[in-house]
């Protein structure tokens, strides 16, 4: 079985590239549907959409559902939802999302909460975001990403002096981000600005893998092409394993909801990146080498 897979991987690399391509198309469809139905590429959280979040990490000895119902009764027009977050399977706090942006309205809400649950001022955190910032922030990130991709492309050309690697790195970063975003959308979670940072962090991780195969396949001459691929694969797999391990540990034990989202996105991204790097990137480079050899033979 393993031999068979290995054989397919070694000989049918062009055909295999359909997998990442298909994933990319499906992801674009998902994001398109998301946009058509909700008006946004992604399920935006309060900090990207506008509104407020009150975070309490004190044992309220009451179920979050009851809190939600009681608050919805008191503030029917505020659009209140209550979430819990947990670490190592234990509930460590609740977060109350609402559409409120006005400071006076929010302080009535916190006052009601404080009286109901005997909270001190230091027991809760509040995050209020105006709706203009959210929309703007998202637009800005897209522009920043375009610049990031262009600059990365320039750096790759300067470093490797091969055009195809530059194309490969940009394409890989694009696929990583789009596919990860689509999978994230499917989880139904709401995106926080830190999640956007996580999408950018993935670029950092995936670049390491891309540089390894580029330098081993294009710059080196030791061993056969396949030997070099497997060498790079081994190194890359060790890197992915260590990062996966760290991410999973953090996902289980971290309390901060924001860091948890970073870790979840990294986890999705790492898995996506395995496919992108070892099928798409290797495929592109082998294709390139094959064409170069063919050209060489003709001459």
């Amino acid at each position: 079985m393993l031999q068979k897979i290995k054989h397919v991987y070694e000989t049918k690399y062009k055909l295999l590239m359909i997998i990442p391509l298909l994933l990319l198309i499906l992801s674009l469809v998902q994001i398109g549907v998301q946009y058509a139905t909700t008006g946004d590429f992604v399920n935006k959280g309060i900090s990207l959409k506008g509104g407020s979040t009150i975070t309490i990490t004190k044992d309220l000895s009451i179920s979050p559902l009851e809190v939600e119902q009681s608050l919805q009764q008191q503030f029917p027009s505020a659009g209140i939802t209550v979430r819990t977050f947990s670490s190592a399977g234990r509930v460590t706090g609740i977060a109350i999302d609402s559409a409120l942006q006005d400071s006076a309205e929010i302080s009535t809400l916190t006052k009601a909460l404080s009286e109901q649950f005997m909270l001190e001022k230091t027991d809760y955190s509040i995050e209020v975001v105006g709706s203009s910032l959210g929309t703007n922030f998202f637009k800005q990130m897209v522009i920043a990403l375009v610049f990031s991709f262009l600059l990365m492309g320039v750096m790759v050309i300067l470093y490797f002096r091969v055009f195809i690697t530059s194309l490969m790195v940009i394409l890989a970063a694009f696929c990583d981000i789009v596919i990860t975003l689509a999978v994230f959308n499917l989880t139904g979670m709401k995106l926080h600005p830190a999640g956007i940072a996580a999408l950018l962090m993935m670029i950092g991780y995936s670049v390491d893998g891309e540089v390894i195969i580029s330098s081993r396949l294009i710059k080196r001459q030791d061993g056969t092409e396949l030997e070099r691929i497997y060498g790079a694969l081994r190194t890359g797999w060790t890197m992915t394993q260590t990062t996966l391990m760290a991410v999973i540990v953090a996902l289980i034990f971290v309390q901060s909801e924001i860091v948890k989202q970073i870790m979840l996105i990294l986890l999705i991204g790492l898995i996506v990146d395995i496919i992108v790097t070892w099928i798409q990137n290797v495929g592109i480079l082998r294709w390139h080498l094959e064409r170069k050899r063919a050209k060489h033979l003709k001459q």
Binding site: Y124, I126, S132, I143, V207, D222, A246
Partner: protein, 530 residues
């Protein structure tokens, strides 16, 4: 033994050690670590407060955390914690002498009632720092406000707005604050304000106020808020506070309290007032003779109060004016607090004048200090667990314990280098920089593996050690420059909220790639060379 000697003779390792030493000095502010510091440090001193009259100075914003003045004892009672300080301060009585000993001086404070009728030393304190690392708001708790001008403004106006906001916060006794401009890719200006510790709601409210104060008689403006027209604003108990003549009143809907404070006008403003009042007629009413128009006070175009002008003031260039207003609330106690808060806001605006432009709050975060503490502890625990798990993976992969030690040690030294740099330039460690640290540690781990694999892999046996290391560093360098390219645009995106992330990642990767990771390569070479 010989190998260990070789390691410490290697110039790459020596370079790393020198930088580690620098970082150590920068974090500890000297040779001796201060981890056992207890007591409280002074964050800020209120203007005209008991403490400032005794000669205690506001810490300079440029001072490092360890340079902050620390309170050692109050009346001979040792102060170990913030709770100690506040339980002492709670029982203060007026007109007593308090001896306050700090690490720099011994002060003698004479307590007095302030405008609210409370006895307060006017100090804001926090647990004494044990290193020069500045914990950002996400770790220490505090308030972060992101403001944007309602209309485009010039750079000079932005500067003067920032100066004015800083001054307003200083009036409230806050000096340990960050007020800086930020902009995004589309050229929108933002002002980012960070205030550590618990912040009163009234301060947040004040920040977004344009604070255009006008006093009008009829349609004529006689004076504006700000030092040009108002040369002095009284804030002591003898000429400000709850108006004894008005006091508080309760009625069916709630209670109302009146406040007053006196100000001194500049001669020009007094002259203007004289000219305007000279044209008014005197009307007789019950209780006395008044001028035909009232002095109406406006704050941001909303009427604050309306004062009758005594007939005797007609045409006189008086420089002393009494400002009054009111606060309302459901109970008398709340009305009293509201009146005093309104008074303080108005006083602040009279002192600092108006902002060149109206500001909108686009983001306002209040982070509880206890949450920050829990967060930091949790993140450190998770870091430790992740490190252990990752070491396990590496051990299984290489089956050589000799690889693990330098890997973990060099990774920790990368963190120390970043911290050292952060302490040196005084940047705040917050959530964004923690996200940056995660990237640095993650890519660091990748690079250790690349170095190890490049030197150990089968295909490399034919190569000499020099080219193996060269190959490894070529890959790492490549990954580094490409990452730089992807991070630089983030500096300008999203109102500067991602700047901390980009900065930490760039600095961290730079010290990693240029200093720490080459040292790891050297150590691995020495340890694994036959």
């Amino acid at each position: 033994m010989n190998k260990i000697k070789q390691i410490f003779m290697n110039w790459r390792v020596i370079l790393l050690l020198i930088f580690l030493l620098f970082s150590y000095f920068s974090i500890n502010g000297g040779f001796f670590p201060q981890f056992w510091n207890d007591g409280v440090a002074i964050r800020s001193v209120g203007v005209n407060s008991t403490a400032s009259r005794a000669g205690i100075e506001n810490p300079s914003p440029a001072s490092t955390p360890l340079e902050k003045e620390r309170i050692l004892s109050l009346n001979g009672e040792t102060i170990h914690s913030v709770e100690d300080y506040y339980s002492f301060a709670e029982h203060l009585k007026a007109n007593r002498t308090v001896t306050l000993e700090t690490n720099e001086n011994i002060y003698s404070l004479r307590t007095a009632k302030d405008e609210n009728g409370a006895v307060d030393l006017g100090l804001k304190v926090y647990a004494a720092p044990t290193s020069n690392l500045r914990k950002g708001l996400d770790l220490e708790g505090g308030t972060r406000v992101l403001l944007t001008p309602a209309e485009p403004i010039s750079d000079e106006d932005l500067e003067s707005t920032i100066g004015n906001l800083r001054e307003r916060l200083n009036v409230y006794g806050l000096s340990d604050i960050v007020v800086r401009a930020a902009s995004d890719l589309s050229g929108t200006d933002f002002i980012l304000i960070e205030i550590a510790g618990v912040t009163e709601d009234e301060i947040k409210e004040l920040l977004a106020k344009q604070g255009k104060f006008e006093a009008k008689v009829g349609n004529e403006t006689v004076f504006f808020g700000g030092e040009k027209d108002v040369t002095y604003v009284c804030r002591s108990a003898d000429c400000s506070g709850i108006d004894p003549q008005v006091g508080c009143s309760t009625h069916s809907e709630g209670a109302a309290c009146g406040f007053f404070f006196s100000i001194t006008l500049s001669p020009e403003a007094a002259e203007r007032q004289a000219q305007v009042t000279n044209q008014l007629t005197v009307t007789s009413e019950q209780g006395g003779d008044y001028l035909s128009e009232d002095l109406v006070l406006f704050l941001d175009d909303v009427e604050v109060d309306r004062l009758r002008i005594g007939a005797s003031l007609k045409g006189s260039a008086t420089t002393s004016v009494q400002i009054s207003g009111a606060g309302i609330g459901p109970t008398q106690e709340q009305a009293l607090t509201a009146a005093l808060q309104n008074m303080k806001k108005l006083q602040t605006i009279m002192i600092t004048g108006s902002l060149p432009v109206k500001l909108d709050i686009v983001k306002l975060d209040t982070i509880s200090p206890s949450l920050g503490k829990v967060f930091l502890r949790n993140v450190m625990l998770v870091g430790l667990l992740a490190l252990t798990a990752v070491s396990g993976v590496v051990l299984v992969r290489y089956r050589k314990i000799v690889v693990i030690f330098p890997m973990v040690l060099v990774m920790l030294s990368e963190l120390v280098l970043i911290m050292g740099f952060a302490a040196l330039v005084g940047w705040n460690l917050d959530l964004a920089s923690i996200a940056g640290l995660i990237v640095v540690v993650g890519t660091g781990m990748n690079h250790f593996i690349i170095i190890t694999d490049e030197t150990l892999r089968k295909e490399a046996v034919t190569l000499d050690w020099k080219s193996r290391i060269k190959n490894a560093l070529f890959i790492i360098m490549g990954a580094y420059v490409i990452n730089l390219g992807s991070l630089i645009p983030l500096f300008w995106a999203g109102a500067g909220l991602l700047k901390g992330f980009a900065l930490t990642t760039i600095i961290g990767m730079s010290v990693g790639v240029l200093i720490a990771r080459p040292a790891y390569a050297a150590i691995i070479e020495i340890l694994l060379k036959e």
